[in-house]
């Protein structure tokens, strides 16, 4: 492969064609990849060291000022604590998904119906989900009506204060995304050969032992993928809180704050710095995960 061209004979038209062909197929994909992934990352990093407002032609280099500001102003840093609610929620989400995937991989009545009901929320439009739950959490809305069936009357402000509001919102995130984890786990469990269960049953294993020794190791790659997705997802929550509360009552997340800094307050430099910080954190998490749980699938390259 590494040899130079001389020892393979003269450069013929056919050879030129063979050299050029792959690039003809790759030109558009590569151009798009570079334009919409690498150039933005590079611009973002360089903007993060400036005081640019996003409009004026002049940008001044300000060194690490934006980063210092980001990590020293508590109101800017606070958004990370909001992520913790979503992180806790994703633990609940993954546990529930794991339980339902295990249960529904055995034969049960109405199996497909339950599968459909658990997965469907994932497919629903985010804005519609926002409105459904805005109504759900209204004082005197769906949740209060349900509670009054159980004798707990009264109107509650589920989206009122920071703690309550963030708990409610991360509950919505469990409702919405549990189905995806569930289907991924279900697919992985079903790819485990059935003979393993039969053999273990002959050996007298119960369901818990089957789960512990057959299912859990069998779905490890998908489980570890779900963990990365959960962490990076918790850091980059945007839609549901933006639609439901607009970031009010202490529900502002990292992405809502960045979008506001950039497009409402014209602090492009600070917004870029916070985006860089988010990117670095996500890359770090991914790298750590790869380090801790080595991936068996290294055949991509």
């Amino acid at each position: 492969m590494g040899r130079s061209t001389e020892d393979r004979g003269p450069v013929t038209r056919a050879r030129v064609w063979r050299l050029v062909t792959p690039w003809m197929f790759l030109a558009v994909p590569l151009a798009l990849l570079i334009t919409f992934t690498y150039v933005p990352v590079a611009n973002m990093i360089s903007d993060s060291f400036t005081d640019w407002d996003g409009v004026s032609p002049d940008k001044n280099f300000v060194g690490s000022k934006n980063y210092v500001e980001l990590f020293t102003r508590p109101e800017l840093f606070q958004v990370f604590f909001v992520s913790l609610y979503y992180l806790v929620a994703s633990v609940v989400q993954i546990t529930l998904a794991l339980y339902f995937a295990t249960v529904l991989s055995f034969n049960l009545k109405f199996r497909n119906l339950f599968k459909g009901i658990l997965f469907f929320p994932y497919l629903i439009n985010g804005v519609a989900v926002g409105f459904v739950f805005l109504y759900f959490f209204q004082p005197g809305g769906t949740l209060d009506s349900v509670l009054s069936l159980f004798g707990a009357h009264g109107h509650h402000f589920w989206l009122g204060s920071g703690r309550m509001a963030n708990t409610s919102l991360s509950g919505v995130s469990v409702w919405r995304f549990m189905g995806l984890n569930f289907v991924l786990f279900l697919g992985a469990i079903q790819s485990i050969p059935g003979e393993l269960y039969e053999a273990s049953e002959l050996d007298g294993a119960n369901r818990w032992q089957q789960f512990r020794h057959i299912i859990a190791p069998g779905i490890r790659p998908v489980l570890s993928l779900s963990v990365i997705l959960a962490i990076s997802g918790s850091l980059s929550v945007f839609e549901i809180p933006y639609i439901m509360t607009g970031g009010a009552a202490g529900t502002q997340t990292f992405v809502i704050q960045t979008v506001k800094l950039a497009f409402q307050f014209n602090k492009m430099g600070l917004a870029s710095a916070s985006a860089v910080a988010l990117l670095v954190i996500i890359l770090l998490v991914t790298w750590l995960q790869r380090l801790l749980v080595p991936d068996e699938r290294t055949d991509l390259v």
Binding site: F120, L123, L149, L184
Partner: protein, 299 residues
Amino acid sequence: MTSTLVPPPGAKTRDLSEQDRSAHTRRTVARTLTYVSLVAASVVMLLPLFAVFLTSLKTSRELAQDGGALSLPHNWLNYHNYVTAFRDGKMLSAFWNTSFILLFSITGTVLIGSMAAYAIDRYHFRMRRPVVALFLIGTLVPSVTTQVATFRIINDFGLFDSRWAPILLYTGTDIVSIYIFLQFIRGIPVSLDEAARIDGANSFTIYWRIILPLLKPAIATVVIIKGITVYNDFYIPFLYMPSENLGTISTSLFRFKGPYGAHWEDISAGAILVIVPTLVIFLFLQRFIYNGFTQGATK
């Protein structure tokens, strides 16, 4: 939650038939608890949607009487709120804009993903490894983080506030589909390409006539995942197409709430209107949708 899987600490039983009986009871209890948990989860999943559906059929006066979100509407065929939501929510133009974006971005994604995968898998050119690495590292960059910088590029191209902005972004930033195609293309024997080459086909003909038709299952996966993502996306159309006449399903519904802030019967109708197409497609394509997600996300 796992309690249903663990048998209760069994009482010491000497008699065989007694042991049998206790095992039987244990199994019945476990089974019942499993069904109880499934029904409970289903209620949690469906109740919020059902309440919104009920509300969408009520009149504003019924809502003012405050019978609670779970009271039944007087007239089950009251479609008046749907008319309001459809007309004032500009849903017709929203469905049209979304379809336009869907058509182009799905076609683009399929062509670009399959071309890149074909070149990477079938040609062993010198820069192959760096190119693959470039795509691989690209998957690690979450697009929400770079949106502020991407915004400027779209603006420089003069595409801000046009339907081409989301189309280009959906097509250009989808690296996952390249992997789905790459995984699949490996399973297609190279001898097919060689046979065609002997018959005088050039690379483009091989790609178009042989590879692309054989990629059908992978194309189905990509179309499903991409279709659902684009239909439901809010972030990109919200940032890149602020004009009201360029509203997509998501942004039109979002804007509809503004003037109808307190009219939950109309907002509910709007939400149901947006959910119904998804529900219909899900019911028809269930199996393919599950497969699409299991294949798409794990690659």
